[in-house]
Amino acid sequence: MANLRAIRKRVSSVKSTQQITRAMKMVSAAKLRRAQDGINAARPYARKMREVVTAVAGRAGSDAHPLLTSREAKKLALLVVTSDRGLCGSFNSGLTRAVHRFLNEHRGEYEEITLFVVGRKGRDFFRRREIPIRKEYLGVLGSVSRNHAAAIANDLVGGFLAGEFDEVQIAFNEFRSAISQVVRFEKMFPIALESSGKAPGDEVDYLYEPSREEILATLLPKYVQTMIFRVLLESVAGEHGARMTAMDSATNNAVDMIARLTLQMNRARQATITTELTEIVSGAEALKG
């Protein structure tokens, strides 16, 4: 049986761990709520943006702007959105593993796959495996802003227009609910036009100011920004959700562990008392003799 003092020490150490995990869970819950509000607030703009882009691009056709024109996908750019911090369960490992698999499986299909990585965790993963990263974005997730999304969008759109890659995909954790995040690969651009079911020309076309082409040229990069912004927000919400779940089960494990150790400790104490009693009794017996 382990000695009493060692067990006591373990219990108090597990207790303080439990305190930390419990606090982290609460913090994540609060942050999650804020992140969810952010997603909801950003939704009307994103929806409207998609409507307008679909309407305008549908009328203009896919030749109107390079971002709409699909070309033979020889070179792929992949934006991987992970988190800066750990302690959030399989949030990062699930994603990076999926990306790693994707890279191995699709290496033959593309001439070149360029990686862009958001988040320290993803950066560390690929660096350890010596997979080159074109550009990394660290510390953007603390407070996701429009400017961060714009910077990332500029890099991707710029590279695409310059012909450095022919297709851009994004890999991220989609936020389903606080306890469920799903790894997703999404094609970002060239932008695939959803056919609205109506033949173009069915509706009255807009008057444009300045011109349809110029509007598309500003609208489309902004649309890409909006998509990236949404993904960043979802990823942050997912991170907090994952951390909340992870910390919740850590707290539960600590509770179980404390119960088990307390039992062990009490047994050890009981055993000591019994031994002492036996010694006293047998000592007394010996004196009687």
Binding site: G38, A41, P44, K48, R146, E203, Y206, Y208, E209, E214
Partner: protein
């Protein structure tokens, strides 16, 4: 015929406004344009500027940091990069931003890359001041 038009103002961060109004004037790419109910389909790039709308006789001003506007006969949707209502604007901050931008503009040469950026910042500050009821 509808006598009012629905004004919806969204920014990436939030839905700022969704209201029935009588008239909207927005800072378009080629100058201000007015929108009344039953306007034709219209899509425009918006400049940094003041958007104002009238509801009966009450006029409200919004400071816009550029964006797009989609107009249909019964609706105008403004997708702004940034937008603030007059009562949200911090005049002092806008003034400080203007002074800062003006000072920087004096140092920069015209073909400097940041020149355009600083000028845009100056414009935004000026628009905020105009919408906020400053000088």
């Amino acid at each position: 015929m509808a006598s009012t038009i629905r004004l919806e103002l969204v920014t990436p961060e939030r839905l700022l406004l969704s209201e029935e109004v009588d008239e909207v004037v927005a800072p378009g790419y080629e100058g201000e344009f007015g929108v009344l109910p039953e306007h034709t389909q219209f899509l425009a790039i918006l400049n940094i500027g003041v958007l104002w709308y009238r509801k009966e006789s009450a006029v409200e001003k919004i400071a816009l940091g550029g964006g797009f506007a989609e107009v249909t006969p019964d609706r105008i949707v403004v997708m702004a990069d940034t937008a603030e209502r007059a009562d949200e604007i911090d005049l002092e901050r806008a003034q400080r931003a203007r002074d800062r931008a003006e000072a920087r503009l004096k140092e920069l040469s015209l073909d400097d890359e940041t020149h355009a950026k600083v000028r845009a910042a100056l414009q935004r500050a000026l628009v905020r001041m105009a919408a906020g009821g400053g000088e």
